[in-house]
């Protein structure tokens, strides 16, 4: 058997690619390799790019990555697109805007389908980030799915989250659902060549100022104007992200964020593993079906059944 963890650490893109597939498929073979990679993670800086469909996230990712490459930094990109709930298939089209990065050995791009996972990411996105981190990428960019406004999972993975807004796409402050404005560490007003850009910029800026009055915040999100297709404003974006990073590092907030992430992740893994084990046992000996039968016939309540199952499990 191939030693994927070792190969990833030695920089083999093929090993990284295969390990990522296993993670997406929830193949248990990934586990031992991830276990060994863990000590080599935590070095990369993770940037999230989120916003409405067609806001220019991929174009920005391309330009941002190119700017980082000029500084000599290596970049991993994880681009997430939705799976069809009807067919399970997906068209992953983000690479179209990143063609020139395809043959750059300092860039590794992976497209991911959500496979039914909600929140704007795929279930395995966090794990994939770890692989690219251990693989040695300096910066990892996550492009989220561009649908609706409930996709705020990105803040759990990204050190800096950029929220991309566009004039004329209905991206007005009034239309924002509660909690969406709050995810931004950096606001990007893209397509600033379009009418309405100045107005949107003014709106967002004044909202950010208002927020600063209402609640004392250690970080005030900068608002950056870009025309991604023309490579305009990208230096400002790079600078905004860099200053947020500096803020996180100097204030100790980066450490705190990552600790919180580790805590959530650990609890989630315990949850997943416990669930898997109990489910496997219950289904293996037909007990689950018997329980379901009893519950459906109202001989047993699900509340009671859960307590019984857990009590038995915990005793063993």
């Amino acid at each position: 058997m191939r030693d994927y963890a070792k190969e990833v650490l030695e920089g083999s893109p093929r090993a990284a690619a295969r390990l990522i597939s296993w993670l997406e498929d929830e193949d248990p073979r990934a586990l031992e390799h991830m276990e060994r990679l863990h000590a080599h993670t935590g070095r990369a800086y993770v940037v999230g790019i989120t916003g409405s469909p067609g806001a220019g996230k991929s174009t920005l990712t391309d330009k941002f990555t190119f700017a980082l490459r000029k500084q000599g930094l290596t970049v991993g990109i994880v681009a997430v697109d939705p799976s069809s709930p009807f067919t399970g298939g997906a068209v992953l089209g983000d690479r179209v805007r990143m063609s020139r990065l395809a043959v750059d050995p300092g860039v590794f791009i992976r497209s991911m389908a959500t496979r039914g996972f909600l929140g704007g990411l795929a279930k395995a996105t966090g794990e994939v980030v770890k692989v690219l981190d251990a693989f040695g990428k300096d910066v990892i960019v996550i492009e989220t799915v561009g649908v609706g406004q409930d996709e705020v999972d990105i803040i759990r993975l990204a050190d800096t989250t950029c929220l991309v807004l566009v004039p004329g796409l209905g991206d007005t402050i009034q239309s924002m659902k509660a909690g969406v404005m709050e995810i931004a560490d950096v606001f990007v007003i893209n397509k600033a060549d379009r009418p309405g850009a100045d107005q949107l910029y003014a709106e967002v800026t004044s909202r950010v100022e208002q927020d600063a009055h209402i609640r004392e915040r250690a970080w005030t999100p900068p608002v950056v104007k870009t025309v991604a297709v023309d490579d305009e404003g990208i230096d400002d974006l790079v600078e905004a992200i860099r200053s947020h990073r500096r803020f996180l590092e100097e204030s100790g907030a980066l450490e705190e964020r990552r600790r919180r992430r580790a805590r959530e992740e650990t609890l989630q893994m315990i949850h997943g593993e416990l669930f898997r084990r109990i489910r496997d046992r219950l289904t293996a000996d037909g007990e689950l079906e018997a329980l379901v039968e009893a519950i459906a016939e109202r001989r047993e309540s699900p509340y009671r059944a859960v307590q019984d199952v857990l009590a038995r499990w915990l005793r063993e």
């Binding site: 997406e24 498929d25 997906a90 179209v96 063609s99 395809a102 992976r110």
Partner: protein
């Protein structure tokens, strides 16, 4: 629960002509058949296509060509895949390709060529039947 293994396919349009309607349509057809399709857009070089297949761990590469560059591009993609050790990736082609060219393309390692008007179900079935089983 382990997920169903999904077929991952790169749909690429090598060459310089600027029409991608056919390739886009193919991408949608494969997605409709439950595959995960990485659509790469126009003007892809063989190097770009193969690097993409490598990073995406693709099972299949679907090439579409209208501009008559297939005799160079298709075999070159196969050759580069082999160089990278990706011998088990299935390569299929489509577009406007003269019948006389097909034997040579197949000899070069292209698994099948689908001319215009091939029923899409046939293409999907061919892929499902011939795709590698990833261990």
């Amino acid at each position: 629960m382990t997920q169903d293994r999904k077929i991952k396919i790169i749909v690429a349009k090598p060459g310089l002509d600027g029409h991608d309607r056919g390739a886009k349509l193919l991408a949608r057809i494969f997605a409709e058949a439950g595959m995960e399709v990485v659509y790469t857009g126009l003007r892809q070089t063989p190097e770009m296509i193969v690097e993409t297949a490598l990073q995406e761990d693709a099972d299949v590469v679907g090439l579409s060509s209208l501009s008559g560059v297939h005799m160079y591009f298709f075999p070159r993609v196969v050759e580069l895949l082999r160089e990278k050790g990706l011998d088990d990736v299935l390569v299929v082609g489509g577009g406007i390709i003269p019948k006389d060219d097909i034997p040579e393309l197949k000899k070069a390692g292209v698994a099948e060529i689908f001319g215009p008007g091939t029923p899409t179900a046939e293409i999907v079935e061919f892929i499902k039947k011939n795709v590698r089983t990833r261990d």
